[in-house]
Structure formats: C-alpha cells, structure tokens
C-alpha cells in the first residue's frame, strides 16, 4: 500500500489553506465607510457595480474628463496633490460630486477658495425616511427630491474672487440644526430650511458638494438612482477609492475585484496554481 509522507500532505494542506484563505478574503464582506466592496449601510457596493473604480487620482489624467462624473466620498481631509489632480480634472471639463465628513469637505472648499464654518447636524423630524438621519431634501436645479444621510449645515463666510457658490438643495422648513449634539431639539436651535448642497463654479471648473455623510452610500442609494442618472446623463461614472491605498488588505481586495466580480486575472492565477499543484501531485504519485 502506498503511504504518502506526512510532510507532502502537510505541504498540500498549506497550499490549499493559503488558496482558500485568499479566495475567502476576496469574497468576504469588509466594513469600511465609502468602500466599494462594503455591502453595509455606509459602504458603496451598490453604486460600485455600475462605476469604474479609481484606485489613484493620477489615473484621472488617463480618463476623458468631459464625459466623466467623478464621485468623491471621504471621511478625512484630502492631500494637496490629490486636490491638484481634482482641479486638473475639473478644468478639463470633468464634473465632480463630493460628499463626506466636514473635515474632508473643508479641505476641498478651502483649496477652491471658499471659507465656511460648521454649524451642526441637520435633523428633520418630519421629512425623513423613518430615520431622522435619512433626510429628504429638494433639489431646485434638478427639480427632484433625494434622500441624504446625516446632513449638516455650514455657513459660507467668504469666497475667493471668481468663485461662485450657489446652494442647489435645501432641507424642509421643519428641520433644525442640532447645535447641542443630543439628537433632540433644544431651545435656541434654529428651525429652518438649510442648504445641504452647493454648486461651486470657478471658471470652467464645476463642483457639486453635498454637506452630508452619505448621498450614494448603500443606505440611501436606492432613493437617489434617478438623480444619479439625471446627473451623469451619458457620462461615465468614476468612483474614487484612492483613499484605500494606505490600507493594503482593502486595497488588495480592490485590485483582485472588479465592478463585475472577481477579476479575470486573479481567477486565472488561482486556477493555474491549482493545475500546477495537481500536476505535481500526479507526478509525485507516479514517481512513488
């Protein structure tokens, strides 16, 4: 009876374990805000299915800006180099839609010459989607309503010369700013309709900024599909994922995945490795 050496079996077990680990890691969900592969509420897996992922903002130079809509969602300030790439993209005719945390938006506003200050989170007890954080807002320009997640109010203090800031969306008149952050109305907190989106124009550069944590995140994406179609028209949608470059594992997942599933080259490599392993296994058996 042929007895295989335990070391060989161990080797095969390790190879199989590594491949299974890689495969599992590739398909298992990961939680990260604005991540294209996060199927959670704050992920962007829904919109990611119909977009092209931008893994580095330098890739924007290779795209056709006039026919592109770039969606940027961030929870941390952008770097100077990234901002200059954005400016270059916008100057070449690209449309940019931005949302995210106040720190991220502030860095962008300041770069493009807009000084603003944070007032507080907007809570709308009337016009929401059964959740005070999912606020229904009305877009004047596009004559449509959308749902945005966790909007906040800002006050534009001043703008650089040549920069135009135009509010394009408002919350309902029943909304208030939760200046004392306790998720409840306090005396003195302003009840009003607040601007939650701005169009910023600097010559040929055009930016749309939503002062909200989510516009196309999974929790509100289904409400805003129509708006996205109106906005992009025939443009190609580019989804920024370059902020994940520091996180190697998440970045690796992005590389081996595509909007239409696991990438062809990744599957091919795994299949090829498997074939080699099986071939070696057969050769070992024959040798014995």
């Amino acid at each position: 009876m042929l007895r295989k050496k335990p070391r060989i079996i161990l080797l095969y077990a390790i190879v199989l374990g590594v491949l299974i680990g890689l495969a599992s890691f590739t398909i298992l969900p990961t939680r990260r805000d604005y991540y294209a592969l996060d199927p959670g509420e704050h992920g962007q897996s829904e919109i990611a299915k119909s977009t092209t992922w931008i893994l580095s903002l330098q890739e924007l130079g290779r795209s056709n800006p006039i026919n592109s809509l770039l969606i940027i969602a961030r929870d941390s300030p952008l770097k100077e180099s990234e901002l200059s790439e954005l400016q270059s993209f916008a100057e070449n005719g690209g449309l940019i839609l931005i949302y995210g945390s106040w720190s991220a938006l502030k860095s962008i506003l300041e770069y493009f010459g807009v000084t603003a200050e944070y007032r507080g989170r907007i809570i709308d007890p009337v016009f929401n989607m059964n959740n005070p954080d999912d606020v229904i807002v009305y877009l004047n320009t596009y004559n449509t309503s959308i749902v945005i997640y966790s909007p906040y109010a800002i006050t534009v203090i001043e703008t650089r010369k040549g920069v135009q800031v135009e509010p394009i969306a408002y919350s309902s008149p029943y909304s208030y700013t939760d200046e004392i952050p306790n998720n409840a109305y306090d005396v003195g907190e302003e009840i009003n309709r607040f601007p939650v989106a701005y169009r910023i124009s600097i010559g040929s550069v055009e930016l749309i900024i939503f002062t909200a944590l989510g516009v196309f995140t999974n929790n509100v994406f289904n409400y805003n599909r129509g708006f996205l179609q109106v906005l992009c028209e025939s443009r190609e949608i580019l989804l920024d994922q370059s902020f994940l470059r520091q996180d190697y594992l998440l970045y690796f997942k992005l590389i081996v995945n595509t909007p239409r599933g696991v990438s062809s080259i990744y599957i091919s490599i795994i299949a090829l490795v498997l074939m080699v392993v099986i071939y070696v296994y057969r050769a070992t058996l024959k040798k014995h």
Binding site: Y12, A23, V262, I270, A271, L274, M275, Y281, L285
Partner: protein, 354 residues
Amino acid sequence: MYIELHLRNIKLSRLITSGIITLAIVLYVFNTSIQDAIYVLLLIFVFIPLTLFGDQHVAFATSFISSCLISYGRNYLFLSLSSAISLLGFLTLYRESSDNIANSFYTVILLCTPLYILNPLTLVQVSIILLVYLLLAIRENLRLGKSTVEVYQDKSTIYLDEQAKYFVLIKCPGAFKYKILESGKVVEEGSTVNEIKAELSRDFEYVGLNELHVGFFLEDLKGLAKLSYGPYTLKYIVLLRTSTMVKRAEKILEKYMSYISTPKVHKVVIGGLLQGETGGSRGVKGIGQVGLIGKGALGGEESGPKSTTSEGLHKPLPVTEPTGPERSWRKKRKDFFMVSNCTLHIKGDRDVPL
C-alpha cells in the same frame, strides 16, 4: 509523425470535451466583454491540449478546472456547458483509467475549493459529477456485496518445525482487487477476475496455542467501492517433537557447561559397599563428564565405569581419596562435590541434578 500518432489515439470523449470547451470560449467572447475574461479564456485555451493529450487524470483535472472557469459566465448557457464539460471529463477518467481513480477524483475536487468559494455556481457541476460518482460507487458496492470469502484450515495441530497452512477462496463477480492480511499486515495482494484461490502458510515460534487473525480486503479496480471481511481467527496448537525437546535440553545444558569449571570428584565411602554392590553413577549427556568407578570397601567387585562423553571432556576424572591437606581445603572451599551412593551433587553456581 509524433503528433499524428497522438491524434490517432485521441478518444472520442476527449474530442467532444475539447469541442465543448472551444464552443464555450467562442460564446464567451460573444456574450461578455473580452476584456473582462481575457486571462480566463487564455488559460482555458491552454488547457485544451492537456485535455486532449494528457493522461486521464490530467485530462480530468484540466476539463474540470476549465468548466469551473467557464461557469464564471454566470448564466444558464455557460452553466450547462460547464456541467457537460466536467461530466465528460469525469467519464473520460472513468472509462480510460485502468487503475484507481478515486484518489485523483477526490484530489481534484478538494483542491478546487478556492474556485467554488470565488464562484459558488461551480458547485452545480461539482454536485453533478459527485452524483454520477455516487451512482457508480453504489453499483460497484452492490457487485462487491455479492462476493464470498472462504478460509480452510489444513490442520489445527502442527509441530514446531512445520508451517501452518490455510487455504483461501475469494469469489466476486467481475474484476476486483484483493488483499489478504494477517494481523493487519498484507501477506498477499493482487487483482483477478471472478475468483482467486490462495494457499498461505505461516511459521509459529511458540509452542502451545497460537492464533492467526486473517482479514480480507476487496476493492473494485477503480477504487470506487471497498469491502473488508474478518478478521477471522485461526487457532493452531503447536507441539514439540520428543527428539527436538531432547536436543533443546542438550543445548541448554551445553550452554551452562561453559560457566562451570571442571568439577573435582571425590569418592566418599559411606558405610562401605557390600560385596557385589556397584557404586558410581552414570554421567548425563552434556554434563556427565564423570563416570565414577565404584569399588567395594572390602575390595570386592569393581563397579562398572559408566561414563558418557561430552565435548571437551573425554577422559574420566581420576578418583582420589582426599588426603590431609585436601580435607582442610574441602572445608574452606564452598564449591565441593559430594558423591553419595548414586547421586552426584555439584554445588557451585547452581545445583544440577544428575
């Protein structure tokens, strides 16, 4: 010439499998964006020659992996094609292989686990070939279930220098592999058709009751079904022949002889012998280096010297009366020899009765 020879040897099932793979590649190109699947299609294309010309096991592996890759097309058409490819690949393996296929089958199915994780749709074709495998295994198991094993014991009592023989008759319809095991160790194995008769023998080292545990292991040629019989216990009583027993005793005594110095024999007259009485004793073979010459105290008849020889001691030892110094020596020395009427006791490292 080499290629022509290979082309003639291609089996139909392999041609059909490769044809379906090629068809799937073409459909893939028309149905999906080529950029999305370019590497996958290239790999499948590379696998086609291996499916055609590789050995059965490699052909099965390539066809199965190709089918997994084709199922990434994620629609019913590609799912059907991939199922057909994997099934044909398995049937090629089953039909063409003359040796164990179970090992290859399980290896390929197990090692492709990462592909199932990446695309759970591949589990459809895995299920199909597992089902076919299961059906074939049931069929082989039913066939092996008709087998019978008979064991005959030649005789249950044997002598130590004989071999214990037993006969085995294994019957099973069709071709099968068999192994005969004694106490878990394979003593005979092979493959045959319909039946096998075997005569086996075994040596026993110990006298008395010996047990032999005999087991049988039957397997079909493809390794799909296995069946074991036993273990059955055969009992043998092992006996010693008398001559063998004596020889053994002699050997044991010879062994101890080397540790004993030449004994000194002293004649001790106890009360004297009557006329006509004989003294002395016989030496025992192996020890009996000494034959004593008995002599009546009154100078009567000589007692007959009866000595048997042993290796290294051919001469009878002289019989002397202990004199003065020897008497005192006898007291001091612990090893002494005392002769009574008919028994010699050697007291030393151990007593040996004669």
